[in-house]
């Protein structure tokens, strides 16, 4: 490599705004009221709801509602702070280590990704031991809710 180099720095700094549409809108409105809205298509249940079923490509048949209890299907323990669409401006990054889990709500055909918390330790291996696949969890609601996914502060084990 030549020594004759110039370093250039720049950034993408974009603000976006997007409309949820009815399906997701119903879900987020539900969060405001501590409810999890879903829908059903050909006996396949979706929490959160889907605007279409990607197996049949048909619109779902009916709306559903539940309390958000579910099971942990997979998880990882995040040991490094990371940037995200929501974190960059507010800088409200969760303290490490924290658990990000794949959670199946009720009998949903798909999963959501959310924080799992409520362990009394910060030791990674101890946390790992405390989480079992198939473990029951339930949402812990934020006091101030704005109709967004973080209205659920995190999921905690059901004892």
């Amino acid at each position: 490599m030549s020594n004759n180099v110039i370093k250039k720095e720049w950034r993408f700094n974009f603000d976006f705004s997007v409309a949820s549409g009815e399906t997701y809108g119903r879900f987020f409105k539900g969060l405001n009221d501590k409810k999890i809205i879903g829908n059903i298509c050909n006996n396949r249940t979706f929490y959160p709801p889907k605007p279409f079923c990607d197996k049949t490509l048909k619109p779902p048949d009916a709306w559903l509602e539940c309390d958000g209890a579910g099971i942990v299907e997979a998880f990882t323990i995040c040991c490094e702070k990371s940037n995200g669409v929501k974190f960059s401006k507010t800088d409200k990054k969760p303290d490490v280590p924290y658990v990000l889990g794949v959670i199946k709500i009720k009998d949903s055909e798909h999963c959501i990704i959310h924080f799992i918390s409520g362990f009394e330790t910060k030791d990674v291996s101890e946390i790992a031991d405390k989480i079992e696949i198939g473990m029951k969890v339930k949402p812990v609601w934020a006091t101030k809710r704005e109709g967004e996914i973080l209205d659920i502060e995190y999921f905690e084990p059901v004892i």
Partner: protein, 156 residues
Amino acid sequence: MQDISYNKRFEYNWDVPFKVTLGESYFRFLDGLKNKKILGNICPKCNGLHVPARPFCDKCLVEITKWYETSGIVTIESFSVTYVKFLGLPDPPHITGIVRAENAVTSFLHQIGGIPYDEPKELDEKTKIGMKLKPVWAEKRIGDIQDILYFTPVDA
């Protein structure tokens, strides 16, 4: 049909920094600007003069290594006068021009300034294709295309 009463608007932001170290051709061009020079380079195959200098010729797909120092005078090939404020651009009215150095086979974009006017609208007429321009240099130059503040008519 969608029931739009459920619609919720989500605002979000991307703010990602990028870094890159440029190679020799871009370095020499930008370094030239520091010294108030607009450098080009010449394709060994088609003899096309590239200003700004480029690592390779698009047309022949060969590396360009032969350097050439232009006079710095450029000609307007096309332009547009902007009358509204755009994020990241100067206050209106401002003129964005496609300018060409000497007999270069490539052109580049830059700002055109220093054309006198009473009403902004006059700029449409007063800016002319084929007009000769010279660079107006920044006081403090760092090896960036904006070391040239803008191009202005040679006889201004």
